[in-house]
Every structure is written in structure tokens, then in C-alpha cells.
Symmetry: C2
Subunit: 132 residues, 2 copies
DNA sequence: TAACGTTATGTAATAATATAACATTTATAA
DNA sequence: TTATAAATGTTATATTATTACATAACGTTA
């Protein structure tokens, strides 16, 4: 059993919002949604996001500047992330294919670099959008 | 033999700058550097960048909001990109490991999605920074 | 070459994303 | 309980990117 991080007040408010949304959310959309709970400034949002990313509760979708709740229950820290992104409806899901994740985690080349982290984003059309 | 894109004036100025720099460059740093050549506005830079990305002459490093010249001579369009990024010195190189690139290009899962593009970013410490 | 559509350019304004700096409060642990 | 770290609050500002509109250059083909 892994240690649970206890979230602070702001962290919890913001994580719950992202988690309930079921998809990626942008920082200023989060801000707008939590203003009624007393979080008024961008920095309050970004600080909570930074922490949530650090502990692996959420991931940043770099190509979209958006944040999504971790969909992989065993993922405590975000060192190996992969997403599929529909370029039409912008739906995002986390890829949990263990063969892929292991392949990438063990990847090394002759550059002399030691990789400690990676992020992979696949783009295409989801099932729904393909059939339109 | 593949068709060469002939670059417009602004596209050429901006591509040459990025290419000569040998590393990733940020949009506003590009802007600053090309002002003496008559490119005065952010939009002029972003338009050229968009086009250069589209035709595969440069790639965007999403996690850094920066642009780097394509280091893979056979890369005409950016549909399959992989980079290694040093988190200490911010050096970036394009990974050309064909086994990796093929593995990812042929990746599919049971989501019903058809992937037409991907971007992979590895993070770690480069040889130099490791030994410090 | 004239007319047309497409691509590129120029310019101003503004939107969207993110961080710096500083003061204060709350939680944790020695 | 006192010291330390973590989190919060607030204002201002930096950085990244796009909208909207007008004009010019280029390529095709009639």
C-alpha cells in the first residue's frame, strides 16, 4: 500500500473539480469555477496544480495547456505518461498499455542521457469523430 | 526525391535563425532577433512558425514552448517526433532511433482511435550535467 | 495578360497562460 | 512549544498566443 497524500484545502477543491469534470481542464477555466469557493487568483490555482502534478494526482497535457486527473490508480508520481488526444472533439484519455509504458520506461539510446521521465501524446480521431 | 518547399521571406529569415542557433528558440526571443530584419510583430513570427511546423522544417517542443529545427533530414512532415530534453541545461535533441519511431508509428490499442501523429518527450540529465 | 483564388504580409489590439515578490497563516514535527 | 516547512492571500507583471482587418505578392489558367 502506498502513502496517500493528504491534500490541502485548495488542492482538494481543485482536484475534485478536475476529477469530476472527467476531462482536461484549463487553468483559467478552473479559476472561474472555483471563485465561488474563495479561490480568487491565478497563482492560487497554479500552485495547487503544480503540487497535484508533482504528486501524480493530475497530469498536464502539454500540447493543450490543460490538466487532467490521473486515470491510472497505481500512478503516484507522473514519470511515465501517455495520452491519446482527439483532434476533433479534444477528448483526452490516458493510455495504460503496460507494454508501451514499459518499452518507453526502459528506452535508452547512445546519447549518454539517463531518462528519468517521459511524456507521450498521440493525436488522431476518436471513434465517434471518425464516423462523422 | 521529395518536393522542396520554397520558403517565403519571413519564413526563411525565421528558419535560418532557428537553424543556426542549433537549439530550441522561443517565439519572443525569435522576434527580438529578427526585428532588425523588419519583422516587428508577434503575429509575423507565429505565422512563420506555424507554417514551418506544418511543412516539417521545425518542431515545437511542447513542454518548453520552444521551436527547434528538424534534425532529421528525411523528415518532411512532423507526424512522428521524439526529443530528449536535459532538465538541467535545457539542451534538446531529436531522437532518430528508427526502432522507437516505428514502434510508436505502428502503435494501436483497443480504444478505436486511429493515430495519425505523436509527440514524445524524454526528460533527464545529459552526459555533461550528470557528471557535475 | 487579366482575372481569380490562394498564400503571405503588415499592423494594432487584446486574449490566454504563467510567474515574481512579498506578507501572512496553518500544519508538522522535534 | 518552538522551529520549520508547507500552504495561502494579494497585487502586479511577464510570457505566450490569437483576433480582426487591410493590403500585397504569387500562381494558375482562361
Amino acid at each position: 500500500m502506498q502513502k496517500e497524500h493528504s491534500l490541502s484545502k485548495n488542492q482538494k477543491i481543485i482536484f475534485d473539480l478536475i476529477d469530476k469534470s472527467g476531462g482536461p481542464m484549463k487553468a483559467y477555466s478552473i479559476l472561474f469555477n472555483v471563485q465561488k469557493k474563495g479561490i480568487k487568483a491565478p497563482l492560487q490555482v497554479y500552485r495547487a496544480l503544480d503540487k497535484l502534478v508533482e504528486i501524480g494526482k493530475i497530469h498536464k497535457i502539454e500540447s493543450r495547456n490543460a490538466f487532467i486527473a490521473c486515470q491510472n490508480s497505481s500512478c503516484q508520481v507522473s514519470k511515465a505518461t501517455a495520452f491519446s488526444i482527439c483532434e476533433s472533439c479534444e477528448n483526452v484519455s490516458e493510455i495504460s498499455n503496460s507494454k508501451l509504458l514499459k518499452y518507453l520506461s526502459s528506452f535508452s539510446d547512445n546519447s549518454g542521457m539517463k531518462y528519468s521521465k517521459y511524456n507521450l501524446e498521440f493525436f488522431g480521431l476518436c471513434k465517434k469523430c471518425k464516423s462523422k
